[in-house]
Amino acid sequence: MNGMDRREFLAVSAGAAAVLSLQHLGCTTPAPSRTPARGPFAGEPYGDWRDIYGKKWSWDKIVRGTHLMADCIAACAWDLYVRDGVVVREEQNTLYPQTNPDLPDFNPRGCQKGACYSDHMYAPSRIKYPLKRVGPRGSGKWQRISWDEALSEIADKIIDTVNQYGSECVVYDHGTTQIDMGPDTAGGFRVFALMGSTIIDSWAGVGDLPMGVIQTLGLYNMDGTSDDWFNSDYIIAWVGNPAYTRIPEFHFITEARYKGAKVVHISPDLNASAMHADLWVNPRVGTDAALGLGIAHVIVSERLYKEDVIKEQTDLPFLVRSDTGRFLREADVVEGGEETGYYMWDARRQRLAPAPGVEGNPASLGEKPNALDVARSLGAHHFRSIRLRGLDPAIEGRHTVKLKDGSSVEVRPVLELLKERLATYAPERVRAITGVHPDTIRQLAREIAAAKSAMIFMSWGACKHYHSDLFQRAALLVLALTGQFGKPGAGMRVGAWWTIHGFEILSYDVAHLLPPLLRPSLELMAGAPSTVRPTARLMDDMMKVLTRQYSLHTPLIPWLYTHGGLDRTAGRAAYGDPAFPRSVESCAKESMEKDWMPVYPRPGKDPKVFIFSGVNPLRRWPTPSRIREVLWPKLDLIVSINPRMSSSGLQADLVLPAAGWYEKTGIKFTMSYVPYVIAGDQAVAPLYESRREWDIGALLAKRIQERARARGVKPHQDPLGNTHDLNKVYDRFTKKGEMREGEADKAMDYILGHSKSVRGVKWSELRREGATRIKHTGGYMLLNHICGDYEEGKAVYPLQWNRVNKEPYPTMTARQQFYIDHPWYLEAGEALPTHKEPPEAGGKYPLRLTGGHTRWSIHSIQRDQRHMLRLQRGQPAVYMNADDARRRGLRDGDHARLYNDVGSFIAAVKVSPSVQPGQVVCYHAWEPYQFKGRSGNQEVVASPFKALHLAGEYGHLYYRAYYAAPSHTPRGPTLEVEKVATS
């Protein structure tokens, strides 16, 4: 008697017939085959427990799997061993063949976090069924509800909000914590993009945006394959800790070192990567720009620079007016001349020469261009080149030029100005700033200049300080001066992706809003061969059109500044740059009024519905307690979609259980380190009542469409004037039934079929094989600025198109641009790279909090994983220098309160001689609930942002999705530490 309900069972009295009632066991094999193959029911007696281990190394199946939505840089292939619907272990797969005998191969890939996911997926923090809050937010009182109830509640609230306030008041945040490039990530974006909702852009919001690289190169997602590191003979890891954060790639550094490469590590603390270096340089926290400029000083003063390279590839020959500090423009010299024409000084002919290849300001396409506009622009851009064609620009000297009004003005090449700037960064002075010995600075300069191929590994951690942009500009200057870019084994490496174009267009499906042929023209351009390839600038312009005119992308930090109370900390003058006369408030006002920086809902209107998938905002955003105080009360509905209960889920109104990585199919993040797309097959069914995100998106779209039709909802316009129709949202989501809930694999085929990088691969084949080799970089797109070609068997390196093919950079000057003559930059003294002391963001306290991504977790996903906790302190901990700790009466293992004017948190102290005096290290992503009082390390983070980053419509400085925007700055706040009693 199986499946008896509880009441029925109770009804059978103890004295009546005995009853067997199985709910959880049995029932898989129907009659008549009732005889088990082994065991007591097959005549094999049970002796003792050893009998059950008789077939120890057998499984129901072995599945090709991976860790799909981990947002880790690695794409690692694993074998998953499944027994009775349970993944009981996993093992690294070695399916990457060697394709070049001169390069190390990619085997094996994986790390300890992946190796214990089979344990983590069954953690008790998994959410089993939809939950609805029944007490106050954060009270921990929940009610179990059905998916049907949850979807109806969300759908009705969205419809109400759209009707009453506008679709932009529904806000979707996918963050970065749980992201891949398969249908599950696309499904979330898709449903909200189709409704005209606000979509949070968290790139700068997580502090991963290398703004200084954008300022200099007009792009930033530039890297190559990690086997190209082996081609380097001088590897600098600068503000990065690849032994922690690039575990599957780190062997390429080690192998290059075995081959003879010198490895230099630059970081304040002696971290796990520094111990593997030949030279460790430890500047004071936040002084890396000064170190870079000190190196540049030596290179310039000793004339170690590559003159031919800087003349062609950089703006150093561009002429700047001495009177205004602005570039000399054609409009200054010629009646009716362009604002976007710039000059060099022709040394041979001793006269002005227009700089070749310049593309000027963006928006040459107009706000909403059609395909014909694109074609015209393609023609105009295509033949541009930065090749000098016999021009020999002067890089030194002063010249007088006659302006169109007849007056004369002195002009100088940027290098002249740079020399003046660098004169203040002699190694002896830099020592006073950084603490680095002048001999070391000179040694670095000479070795970088002499290297065959020098590269700088720079992590996203190098973007999280207030003045990170200045550091990046200085580091790029060193590489530019020495010609260390655009060749194998050289250049700055920030990270890049192979373009999975199908993923992008499935996520942001705005085709129905676009003029005919506009999107196909973009797709054609993305994959075009070099003979007809559009310039990066034109591609950027197209992406700007698509993400600014047809979707409501909103950069997180300005959004929090407007809606989340960030103005209370980031707006404090004391936390900003004293050298910049404008306030953050005035810059924000101007930027938003001029629509340089889009914020939806616009100031004056509140967000009402906030749905986040995977992301953990109250762990990551600055000062979470302030977010709860300011933003949370504005929201009528907060929904968390996540496999596990996060700190943010605890503060939500509805929590929906998402399937774990082994419970669905998909493809991994396609970072360019590894030239494969890695697939994960489904090993087991989604646990409990969880559903994969594609299905959640489809079901939500379906319910919204049903409810909208039942309620007679009319089409609506978003703030950009695009019309959306909730009555058709499911039809659009499914492409008129092509890919419904339960049909994520069809969406996967759509993604693959629209991605040139994996040309011709079918999902059925990919899931079987577990990986497919890249066929093409996929073209210059949102996440791919490699500017290099893929050739099977060869390592890929960035900026090949520019250095080798002489294609323009997507900057205002079409070159690596070290001089920015935007008025705000001039006012701030940042027209050229410089060093500025980090602000005292937190108040006047003697210590600075730094951090880094941890070895033991990808963001907060594995932060409470039991095996990972055993490898560290098992609880939130900060690392302190022994002298700093002693002065405060702290011993290893003590607990301390870390505080400043913004907030405080309590953590255990690890006393470590590897930490620099004045520095406190708290590694990344502890969950607030792991701290006493649920007050996490972000509580002391004021996160002031540079007002300069709000500037827009200056050449390459403008906002589009995942591009130039103010950053979260969690590293470097000032604070003090005091001992507290351990409870």
Binding site: D5, H24, G43, W59, K61, I62, G140, M645
Partner: protein, 239 residues
């Protein structure tokens, strides 16, 4: 790539004649099932049974018929296994979720109902439970929302099954001593090992007396039953 290295095995025939009503195996089997039912996610109907005393009565009757005597401190006080009349279903459900399923502070519930959370390694514990089930021709149900193999309800249900079959007189069925040996091993290695740890955790919580009493009873019963089965096996098994 998916490779199959093991054929799906058949489930045992459960339509064999039942054990003699009131016999020791039948009673023990029933207690295990009743305990499992108490730890299932509560639905409104079952909550009504609890509130009206039906569950307490059924369990009390079964306990009274056991072939061994539970220690006095193990027996729930009168009324402990029913809930206050003023308590509504939503409060009961919410407390079940807080205590066993979600918690209120992050990192999972304070008292998860999974054996592997109480030592022995989660995967190792789950895999061993699966091996026990498999050896006796059982697999986890394929129903949506199925539980994991080390969940209290699954483990108690397995013991319910073993005890039932121990008392089922099937001519071609397994030797009852095999089943008793398996009961002793499964209790020793799994249920009787961790249920007392669960009970200790629940006891430390501010929660409803119902949950404290029920979990305490489950732990004490598992230990007492282990002692009982071992005593039978010490004399050759089966009585």
């Amino acid at each position: 790539m998916t490779t199959s290295t093991q054929e799906v095995e058949a489930v045992p025939d459960v339509s064999v004649p039942p054990p003699e009503p009131g016999s020791p195996p039948a009673t023990r089997s029933r207690v295990y099932k009743l305990l499992a039912l108490g730890l299932e996610f509560p639905d409104p109907d079952f909550f009504e049974e609890i509130q009206q005393g039906g569950y307490e009565r059924a369990l009390g009757d079964a306990l009274a018929a056991l072939p061994f005597v539970l220690p006095a401190e193990a027996l729930p006080a009168a009324g402990a296994l029913r809930t206050d009349a003023a308590l509504d279903y939503q409060a009961f459900e919410s407390e079940f979720i807080r205590l066993f399923e979600v918690g209120s502070g992050g990192g999972g519930p304070p008292c998860p109902l999974y054996a592997g959370e109480y030592g022995g390694g989660r995967l190792k514990t789950m895999e061993e439970a699966l091996r026990f089930y498999d050896f006796f021709g059982l697999r986890l149900s394929d129903a949506e929302g199925r539980e994991l193999p080390d969940h209290a309800t699954v483990q108690l249900e397995f013991l319910h099954f073993l005890a039932y079959r121990e008392g089922a007189p099937a001519a071609d069925g397994p030797d009852p001593v095999s089943l008793q040996r398996a009961e002793a091993d499964f209790l020793e290695r799994q249920a009787a090992r961790w249920l007392p740890l669960l009970a200790k955790r629940v006891a430390s919580q501010e929660t409803l007396p119902f949950f404290k009493s029920l979990v305490r009873l489950a732990a004490d019963f598992a230990r007492a039953d282990l002692h009982y089965v071992k005593s039978l096996l010490a004399t050759g098994g089966v009585k």
